[in-house]
Subunit: 429 residues, 2 copies
């Protein structure tokens, strides 16, 4: 099933934990032409692309109130109630991230500095369509955006060939208060939110998952000065499990990642060879029952289980790998937390499976993949805010720090900078 | 001097406040070849570029301890003491941004979530050389990196034709505890920090100002998955001043921005035509005495002063423009703060000139330019940290939220996600 490696050297981590190469097809010309089209022809270009790629001829790009009301009547009460429960938890956790104005600091007598958070006023979400309607991503983006106070939230999602967006997506968008929903997908949706068209307003930051075209379009938008949530890569989980772990649980967690796609990566680290072997046996059994068996099997075939001498060594390897999801399936989980350096989200203990965080524990599921946990954070309230700094300097304050500034500005050959201080100090003489 | 516009319509803000176009020279081929060279030839490529562009044949790229000691002996005591005073203020302000582990939230009984900050372990700074040695940028990047606990800090700066980095840069780097200093500049320095060479370690995030080659190389590094501080653009200030402002001070502030470069942008908004006229008179007088007069004059020639009916209207226009620096030169400054949406750093009151924040008030001077204050924050402790989320779910917890997760996972057609929960719920039966 999974390859088993025993006691690797640290020097071999780079090759051992190498991720599948990101497909770096050169889409640049294609993406540039989409942006050019959308810029020059606006809505007409979007409708033409939608006809070409989604097979539907739309009169209006914007979802009507009737469509949203219809979607709300189609979603089952059971699913509605599950979504509401998840929403409540996501709200509870993300609310703790809202920061008040920071405490004023008098860095020198008469020099007072502080920070204030301000929402990014216009944000855009891309939600993929197709067979897996990711309404959970609508929650994970919409809840923090609403809490942050973003004034304008735009959502784009491709229509099916009947010209409709999946009802669970519409229901969830409505639930989190998103009013501007557009039936457009692919790179053209990203171009529309980056540039703006007759119906779709331009936004300052674009969030959400997508295929390679969407990803390439987000990179293009970033080059144009639009912020994006984070770079994209295939989803992944790393499980650290010891003899206290339940092999059935561990195997189920590995499979829940492996079913995402053939490029998903799944890694098991353990100090117990018995556990590794038991998990491999469990994988065989559980795989048989999965609808997405083929995908999961292929993902597992390039995944690895690695035996180490201790949990500390496992964690060191995990920090090297920087997993999107890190599961600590051990009675000792709590003792390892302070050593975690690089991870998107951490699941502590035998009942904390990744699926809970994917939907409803309250943490965000939009997380850094592909090793980006070494330098990026997952989505949070922070992702929807800017931090603005303030300073208020009194006459006393400029007399205290002005002379140092004069010296430094002169040393950097910036005499007008110096003069802005000198003029004031002279006026105070 | 500056163009004066009276009572513009909001519909005209886009053209009125249009920034100078960013020079979008196509440097891609050039930058790609630099990255390819650095990847294949490492240090040898860096030395060859340094010979070509900086006119010096280096044996060692790394600054020796002797060079650092020599620099420390050359910098005047007066400048050292000014730098230390600035450092202390920057430390005091940035320390307030360090976050403890967030409070645990029990989102549902048995489901506990929290966040913890972790430093980005390896960061790289680019500090330009040339006539204006930006040792202040070493403070602004080095202080928060040190406070954050970044393990490895790499600094690259181009040598002069004697093979030396400016002593004030070396002194400041040493003062903030940076040990790894390399004599290499331009796009090749960014490539080295992105890819790694025999002497220069690869980093996870690259910070610092630079010319168009450095900027293009940072964009390339970002495409490779290396994080960067923020997109770059020319520096700018917007001053809102009313009849209570001192025209001499306002003119000095406008000039301190205008001297940066001919593409610097300077904007004055006021509800007093008299103030605008007085500032223009002052500009003429103060310009005459400036060493960088020509640069400042050209920058002013495409800058604007705009008359509005009220300070509130001025602020609305400022939010539209999203200035890097916003100066509120008015007795009413405090009353305007809550209305500020988009700005990098704000200077409140008549003595709070931008130069103070550029060097020594304590706030960071690495700020979003070119309108990026609408979607990016300036550099802070946050820039050197990742936020890792944690969740710990008990048997009770999964019984509480598991059923909702099963329903949602099934609705997204992710059956292995569902199964990770079902397996555990069954074991608890």
């Amino acid at each position: 099933m999974m390859q088993v490696i025993q006691f690797p050297n640290e020097a071999d981590y780079a090759s051992l934990f190498q991720r599948p190469m990101l497909e770096q097809k050169n889409l640049e010309d294609l993406i540039n032409s989409v942006f050019t089209e959308v810029k020059s022809r606006g809505d007409e270009a979007l409708k033409a692309y939608t006809k070409q790629f989604d097979g539907v001829d739309l009169r209006e790009l914007r979802c009507s109130n009737e469509e949203i009301e219809e979607a709300k009547s189609v979603v089952t009460e059971e699913l509605k109630s599950a979504i509401k429960q998840a929403k409540a938890n996501i709200e509870r956790f993300h609310k703790t991230q809202l920061q008040p104005k920071s405490k004023e600091v008098e860095t020198t007598e008469g020099v007072v500095c502080w920070r204030e958070q301000r929402a990014i006023q216009k944000v855009g979400f891309y939600i993929p369509g197709g067979t897996a309607p990711l309404f959970s991503s609508v929650l994970m983006l919409g809840v923090p955006a609403s809490l942050s106070g973003c004034k304008e939230i735009v959502l784009c999602s491709p229509p099916n060939n009947e010209g409709k967006i999946h009802p669970a997506i519409l229901y969830t968008a409505d639930l989190v208060g998103i009013k501007s929903i557009y039936k457009v997908g692919g790179a053209q949706a990203i171009a529309a939110m980056a540039i703006g068209t007759q119906s779709i307003p331009a936004v300052f930051k674009i969030f959400g998952p997508g295929n390679q075209y969407v990803t390439a379009a987000k990179m293009k938008a970033q080059q144009l000065g639009i912020a994006i949530d984070m770079p994209a890569g295939p989803s992944e989980v790393l499980v650290i499990a010891d003899a206290t772990a339940n092999p059935r649980f561990v195997a189920a967690d590995l499979l829940s990642q492996a079913e995402h796609g053939i490029d998903s990566q799944v890694i098991l680290l353990s100090d117990s060879l018995q556990l590794i072997e038991d998990v491999n046996d469990e994988l065989v059994q559980q795989l048989a029952a999965l609808p997405r068996k083929k995908i999961a099997q292929e993902a597992l075939s390039h995944s690895k289980s690695v035996l180490f001498h201790s949990l500390e060594e496992c964690l060191k390897a995990s920090n090297f790998y920087a997993p999107e999801h890190l599961i600590l399936a051990s009675d000792e989980g709590d003792n390892l937390l302070s050593e975690i350096q690089n991870a998107g989200s951490v699941f502590v203990g035998h009942y904390s499976c990744e699926s809970l965080g994917d939907y409803a524990s309250g943490t965000n599921h939009t997380l850094p993949t592909h090793g980006y946990a070494a330098n990026y954070s997952g989505v949070s309230i922070d992702s929807f805010m800017k931090q603005v700094t303030f300073q208020k300097v009194s006459a006393q304050g400029i007399q205290n720090i002005g002379p140092a500034v004069e010296i430094m500005a002169e040393a950097e050959s910036l005499f007008a900078h110096k003069n802005a201080v000198t003029t004031r100090l002279n006026a105070l003489k």
